[in-house]
């Protein structure tokens, strides 16, 4: 049992963006522990993606292909990757923390009698062993975790936590492998992915966004945020609970389950900053956070912070903007 196996995610030959970051995490971990890194890609289009993966500084690339992996299923992915992990015997398996990984990875780890260290944000090496960080309590606290079990151990990494590696010159060997899968053990029947009805706004194109969260308390108070948005020439966005309540349409939701935005200015009003929201906006140019709790994780991401009652601060800000514009 040795080395690191990075399981990347792609669809039809196109990478999931966190895949390169997982590869980066695997390579950093390999360097820190002084062990070899292999990378794997599975599903329809795997051979196309594998050729690209071979340009990165990995020892070997494995394309895992099977007619039973054409359309993603949790059972199919867990069984195929269990087969691979048993064949390859890696010490650590690194994955991107995507929705797909959230769907199958615990099943895979459980089949091998292991727990998954989900959504890691970093690691350091202490006494030759990796200590991983992950967030708890929706980002309010951080925990240091260690594995107590021998390999294979499983880690998934949070989007935006590790740097994607540079592609090198030397091409790694690519090997295509076909797992032994029994169709009868794949119990999910998936249908084609779809989007809901047409969107009226495209937040991803907005230059400025005022986003509102739970702190606004009532639907009637949304007018405060709306007025601020108008004074700034911004679109109105929201965190998940606001859209769940039906106060704003889903298309205005920012975060992992909604839009990923990167406007020049992002003003977060009454948003505490759960991980799921932060991943959708932390690439914004300038981030302003207004929140009554000075310890709220949103301030982690903010350039400018106002720790105060939004019901006092937001009207004052709208007023100040109007004054500044004359």
């Amino acid at each position: 049992m040795s080395g690191i196996l990075v399981i990347t995610e792609q669809s039809g030959g196109a990478w999931h963006r966190v895949s390169q970051e997982a590869l980066g995490a695997g390579l950093e971990l390999g360097r820190a522990l002084g062990v070899a890194v292999r990378a794997c890609v599975y599903g329809s289009g795997a051979s196309v993606a594998a050729a690209e993966l071979a340009a990165y500084p990995v020892e070997q690339v494995i394309a895992l292909e099977s007619p039973l992996l054409e359309a993603y299923t949790a059972d199919g992915a867990a069984l195929a990757l269990e087969w691979l992990v048993r064949e390859e015997q890696p010490e650590v398996v690194v994955m991107p923390h995507t929705y797909q990984v959230r769907d199958y990875a615990s099943r895979l780890a459980t089949r091998l009698g292991r727990a998954l260290l989900a959504d890691a944000t970093g690691f350091r090496v202490e006494d030759g062993a990796a200590v991983f960080q992950r967030q708890l309590f929706q980002g309010k606290l951080t925990g240091d975790f260690v594995f107590e079990t021998p390999g294979p151990n499983f880690v998934s990494v949070q989007a935006g936590s590790f740097r994607a590696p540079e592609a090198g010159a030397a091409a790694a060997a690519v090997e295509t492998r076909t797992p032994e899968l029994d169709a009868a053990r794949i119990r999910q029947t998936p249908e084609a992915p779809f989007r809901e009805a047409d969107r009226a706004v495209d937040l991803t194109a907005a230059e400025r966004i005022v986003a509102v969260g739970r702190g606004i308390r009532e639907e009637g108070n949304l007018a405060l945020a709306q007025e601020l948005a108008e004074a700034l020439g911004a679109e109105l966005g929201a965190s998940r609970p606001i859209c769940d309540n039906g106060w704003l349409p889903m298309e205005r939701q920012v975060g992992s389950s909604g839009q990923t935005v990167a406007p020049k200015l992002y003003v977060a009003v009454g948003i505490s900053g759960a991980i799921q929201h932060l991943v959708g906006m932390k690439g914004s140019g300038c981030i302003v956070a207004i929140n009554k709790d000075a310890d709220a994780p949103i301030f982690e991401a903010a350039d400018y912070g106002i720790a105060g009652d939004l019901f006092d601060v937001v009207p004052a800000l709208t007023e100040a903007l109007k004054k500044a514009r004359g």
Partner: protein
């Protein structure tokens, strides 16, 4: 249809979180607790399925005596009975261990459907439901937005990333992890609260279930995150803060 709902009790959402002695978990002295929000939506989905199709809703939870308040709340909302796995120190268990504990109690119930929230608001690893499915050898789907009966099983709407969705069908019994906000949570009625007192709560210990703690993943230390970004906090009255921010946005960040 017999529906098992796995609930977790977690510190209330707006709790002030203080690190406890030893630095490995919270100081629990002043904490108040509530049903993990995604689990509350799983319970609501179960109650709605029962209303449509008949059957029974059984609540399954693990934890110390304090979790009784969450069990009572679930029973008051309409669950038929509950199983309380009595255990201390579960914060030190990883998702695989918790999955084993829940699976040991769930297997004997032979449910048609197991519902739970997609993740907990405290540890947030989003794994227990999936591990439970594997340990019970049942098919599963995660991040479920809607559940409908289909021939020989269920058809669910799953949330994918970036506004995409997908329908997936599978035979029953199955395990589904439910997304927050997919329905409107009901309040317990006075009648419901009264009735809850007469409903069965079966108590069982981890030892009786034959499951012991064997963490593969250990939390060494819990701490406030270090700031990676230098946030400029603006002080003063709201009007002063607002004026200072406008100034910064115009002349420093140049985004106005």
């Amino acid at each position: 249809m017999k529906i098992l709902v796995a609930l977790k009790q977690v510190p209330a959402r707006d709790s002030l979180l203080r690190i406890g002695a030893g630095g490995c978990w919270l100081d629990e002295a002043d904490l108040s607790y509530e049903i993990n929000e995604p689990d509350a939506y799983a319970l609501e989905a179960a109650l709605r399925l029962k209303e449509q199709q008949g059957g029974e809703v059984v609540v399954l939870t693990a934890g110390p005596e304090r979790v009784s308040s969450s069990i009572r709340e679930a029973l008051a909302k309409g669950a038929d009975r509950a199983i309380h796995i009595e255990a201390e120190g579960l914060e030190g268990w990883d998702a695989l261990g918790l999955g084993r504990l829940l699976a040991a109690a769930a297997a004997a119930e032979k449910p048609d459907l197991v519902l739970t929230g997609l993740q907990s608001d405290d540890a947030g690893s989003g794994q227990t439901g999936v591990a439970l499915a594997e340990l019970l050898d049942l098919p599963h789907a995660t991040i479920v937005m809607a559940v409908e009966a289909a021939e020989g099983g269920v058809r669910v709407k799953r949330e994918l990333e970036g506004g995409w969705f997908q329908h997936v069908s599978m035979p029953l019994p199955a395990v589904l992890t439910i997304q927050s906000g997919i329905n409107k949570l009901r309040y317990a009625t006075l009648m419901g609260i009264k009735r809850a007192k007469t409903k069965e709560v079966k108590r069982v210990t981890a030892a009786e279930l034959g499951v012991a703690a064997a963490p593969g993943l250990r939390l060494k230390r819990l701490y406030q995150p270090q700031r990676v970004k230098q946030t400029q906090f603006l002080a003063g009255t709201p009007a002063e803060q607002a004026a200072a921010l406008v100034e910064k946005l115009r002349f420093e960040a140049r985004v106005l």
